[in-house]
């Protein structure tokens, strides 16, 4: 992304002046964000500041109080249910804990979105999709395991494979390396880059892991008091004049 100059036509997500409160707790206070095609955008900020709320607003898991959210040219807040479901197929979401369906095996976890969204009706294609997704995350061997048999890192990878199976254009990563050791975190960060190459995705990556931010993102936005205050690359922000910004990158 460094040598490219993004244009409006490249925008895959545009968040404009979005507000969200829970009672008297004002989480998002007129936040703006733009994600371009092929871009990996990192979001950092203190816990509870509203990073996950923002990404959940983007896929309308949480309804914002005001503002506009455009995803792949569609106004998310104006969609009816069927339009929203169609849009959601193009936006993958990797949850913090993986959110694997614990009553289903890995194969069934991956088969579930394909079957339910009728992504393909051909059995052969489905098997191929499942294997391709698992191969992308390097866990083809785990195909018949249950989620309870997997480690934290494996769960995240399988969840990522489940996200990839619908071939999304955008992926929202909610703390993809939380709770993982340094080696596995590094592997997941490299995997995020590999996925971008392989699937031509754009991504928003919420993270507290600065190693992940350094490896996997093109630019980073720092969230403070419900808005983004600073934007820049990892190198720029880690040398920022404001100490409170630099602190995030220690």
């Amino acid at each position: 992304m460094d040598n490219m100059s993004p244009t409006v036509s490249d925008e895959v997500i545009a968040v404009k002046n979005v507000y969200k409160s829970f009672g008297d707790n004002h989480i998002l206070r007129g936040i703006n964000l733009t994600l371009h095609k092929g871009e990996n955008l990192g979001i950092v900020g203190k816990s509870g500041i509203g990073k996950s709320v923002l990404t959940k607003c983007i896929v309308r898991l949480i309804e914002p109080d005001a503002g506009e959210i455009i995803v792949l040219g569609t106004d998310v807040l104006e969609c009816d249910n069927s339009q929203l479901n169609e849009l959601r197929k193009k936006v993958g979401y990797l949850f913090q804990g993986g959110a694997l369906y614990d009553s289903m095996s890995v194969r069934e976890n991956l088969f579930f979105p394909v079957r339910r969204t009728r992504f393909t009706d051909k059995k052969h294609d489905t098997e191929e999709l499942i294997e391709q997704s698992l191969r992308s995350v390097g866990l083809l061997d785990a195909i018949d395991k249950m989620p309870s048999e997997l480690s934290g890192g494996m769960k995240k990878r399988i969840a990522l494979a489940r996200t990839l199976i619908l071939k999304p254009e955008i992926i929202l990563y909610d703390e993809p390396t939380t709770g993982l050791d340094a080696v596995t975190s590094g592997e997941i960060s490299e995997l995020i880059l590999k996925i971008r190459e392989e699937y031509d995705t754009a991504a928003i990556i919420i993270t507290h892991d600065m190693k992940c931010a350094k490896i996997a993102t093109d630019s980073i936005q720092v969230m403070q008091e419900g808005v983004f205050t600073v934007t820049g690359t990892y190198d720029e922000l880690s040398r920022h004049e404001d100490e409170s910004i630099r602190d995030y990158f220690i």
């Binding site: 005001a66 807040l77 169609e86 197929k89 804990g97 369906y101």
Partner: protein, 273 residues
């Protein structure tokens, strides 16, 4: 003249009707819950009839939920029949009407006690189980994961369970009724020797179609609401493991109360008819 922005108006309307957190209090909480349950029911009913249909999931839940409660329902029904007969026999003997005992037991079990007792057992066992299971899925973001992949979790998670309980509860009531009559037969034989043929004849002499139809219909509704309330409480559970327990607990209370209300409505309707 200022231009009207439809998007802003829609957002204001959306905010205006999002009453849950802001205006909920002790007095209006139940009404807000009821309103949300009605909206939830509407969404479930809409998705229930949209393909793909989850027949395997429906059968799985039907088997698991029925299997889980069958023994309890059978034992309870048997004891109810036995105890009721033993309690009523001396009273009827005083009036020289002990030959009416099988018929009275049959009518009271089929019309009222069988459905209500089974309904309450299922409210305690099935509704809480469903609420806990669905709440655990919600807490671990499994439902959100289904939602964001456009897989319509209401039809997969909720509709299958609601359909299963709607089918299973009437079947359990039939078992409860049958075993209560077995209990009654054994109790009658404590006091006097009665053949099974005579007992059955006397039991059915007082039972008519008018007893069976409303009783069956209300058990279908019991089953529907047991599944629906359990799913609703689970689906709308908050964050954290504590909310799983809360969802299960409130599902039992709400489902039990609903059973009494449905029963009251059916008794009033059948009394008028």
């Amino acid at each position: 003249m200022a231009k009207i922005n439809v998007s802003v108006i829609k957002q204001r309307v959306r905010r205006r009707f999002r009453v849950k957190d802001e205006t909920r209090n002790f007095y209006n909480g139940a009404f807000i819950d009821l309103g949300e349950l009605v909206m939830f029911t509407g969404k479930v009913m809409t998705q229930m009839f949209q393909p793909p249909f989850e027949f395997r999931e429906f059968v799985k839940h039907g088997f698991l939920l029925g299997n889980k409660s069958l023994a309890l329902v059978i034992v309870t029904g048997f004891i109810m029949g036995l105890v009721l007969t033993m309690q009523m026999n001396p009273v009827l003997v005083d009036f020289g009407a002990q030959t009416l005992l099988p018929g009275i037991i049959a009518v009271s079990m089929v019309r009222e006690l069988g459905p209500v007792i089974t309904g309450l057992i299922c409210a305690g066992k099935l509704s809480s189980g469903i609420a806990a299971e669905v709440a655990a899925m919600a807490v671990t973001e499994q439902i959100d994961a289904m939602e964001v992949s456009g897989t319509r979790p209401l039809s997969f998670v909720v509709a299958t369970r609601v359909l299963a309980t709607t089918l299973v509860v009437p079947v359990l009531v039939i078992f409860a009724d049958a075993f209560s009559m077995l209990g009654a037969y054994l109790a009658v034989n404590i006091f006097e020797d009665t053949s099974i043929t005579l007992f059955i004849h006397r039991s059915f002499s007082m039972l008519g179609f008018v007893d069976l139809l409303p009783a069956t219909l209300k058990t279908v509704l019991f089953g529907f609401f047991i599944g629906l309330i359990g799913s609703y409480k689970g689906y709308t559970a908050g964050k954290g493991t504590e909310s799983v327990g809360k969802a299960a607990n409130s599902a039992v209370v709400a489902a039990s109360l609903t059973i009494f209300v449905i029963d009251l409505v059916f008794v009033l309707i059948t009394s008028i008819l």
